[in-house]
């Protein structure tokens, strides 16, 4: 199947677990077969990624309902209340992580747009359709996600040059 890798990659980043990702992809494939007869798919990859994403959120609601409640954008917004600077609050959590780990640590609404944009190279419009959000929201989430990751990346670079060492 042509877009299996793309679907698997998205599921793997969303679930952060190899075997959970495979469960999600398998469910998505069954759904794709179901819908195939009625679809007018212009782009098979965006279509399949939409199904994978839906399968993931259903899986999350079934298996990790607590996580779903916590890991949404409002949770992220609440970081702003905890610190003067929301970026700093999350950066604190991610500063010691490699870039990939920092992405994995992002709240879901930010993680999914980053994966769709940087790994699948989809346009804002395509991402908006897949994630079912307005294009403006895609833009603002990507922008904030990158700022967070920039912080993580910059600190890591600082560490690796050894310039930060007064140890």
């Amino acid at each position: 199947m042509v877009h299996l890798d793309a679907g698997h990659n998205l599921a793997r980043w969303l679930t952060r677990d190899a075997s959970d990702a495979e469960d999600v992809v398998q469910d998505a494939c069954l759904r794709a077969m179901k819908y195939m007869g009625t679809l007018h798919a212009q782009d098979g990859r965006a279509w399949f990624l939409t199904i994978v994403r839906r399968a993931f959120y259903d899986w999350l609601a079934r298996n990790r309902p607590a996580l779903l409640a916590r890991d949404d954008e409002s949770a992220f917004e609440s970081l702003a209340d905890e610190a003067d600077n929301p970026e700093q609050a999350l950066m604190h959590k991610t500063e010691r992580l490699a870039l990939a780990e920092a992405v994995a640590a992002l709240p879901l609404p930010f993680r999914e747009v980053i994966v769709l944009r940087e790994l699948e190279d989809l346009s804002y419009k395509e991402i908006a359709r897949i994630a079912d959000i307005p294009v403006g929201t895609v833009m603002s989430r990507l922008s904030r996600a990158r700022r967070l990751l920039q912080g993580a990346a910059a600190l890591r670079g600082f560490d690796s040059t050894g310039a930060g060492g007064d140890a």
Binding site: M1, T38, H40, Y124
Partner: protein, 253 residues
Amino acid sequence: MNCDEVSALLAAEVDGEVDPLRSHALRKHAAGCTGCGARLEAIAETRRRLRSELPYHAARAAFRVRLAASLSTASPVRAAKAGRWRWFGGGLAAGVLASGLVWVTSTAGLQAPFGADLPTRLVGLHTRATLGNHLIEVASPDRHTIKPWLSARLDYAIPVVDAAGAGYALMGARIDRLDGRAVAVLVYRHRTHIIDVFVRPASGGTATAGSTVRGFNVAQAEGAAMQWLAASDLNADELAVFVTALAQGRLGE
């Protein structure tokens, strides 16, 4: 543009999502403003690093095998509720809705008459093959491997050519069921497009013009006493030219 306007658009600029006019104004501002220029470069750098450092998790081979097995035993279900998918463009024509049963037709091996729904059935077989990982049963670019493999499973023999020279690389073949009988399917790749070519003895029936079903194109030609039916997401024009050349033996070697 001032710094506020620019900073709202920096990320979109890096993603190539700003229209040329505003992009020009933005670049001009960033060239003369150290703050905005540095931020633009920082976002571009983050993007470069994300793209080079993030692992891409392709599906494992073992999982592919397991998935293919589970999908082939899954029963096809008639799809319902298409409304929410309308954004895929064009809406849903009544004929497309009716094609929801295409899976039942193809998997239950029902004898369907050769009719106007042939393109729909071909697209159904094509999409099902690509989705279920059953696209290719004998994978080889070598026609001397494919031809005997097909001959052993069919009651007719077909010409097999690799058209890699023309940009259409032969990937392999499979057997599919069409109108109640086993037919040869040659699988070609052109750029990123997969093309299924169903080949069966010409029946002298009415030739159907090319058509489009759910974004997939179907084209057909006759040649070498065979009917050649191609289904792919390749554009209609190229597909028609390819299948005609293939049927008339003008490709390969």
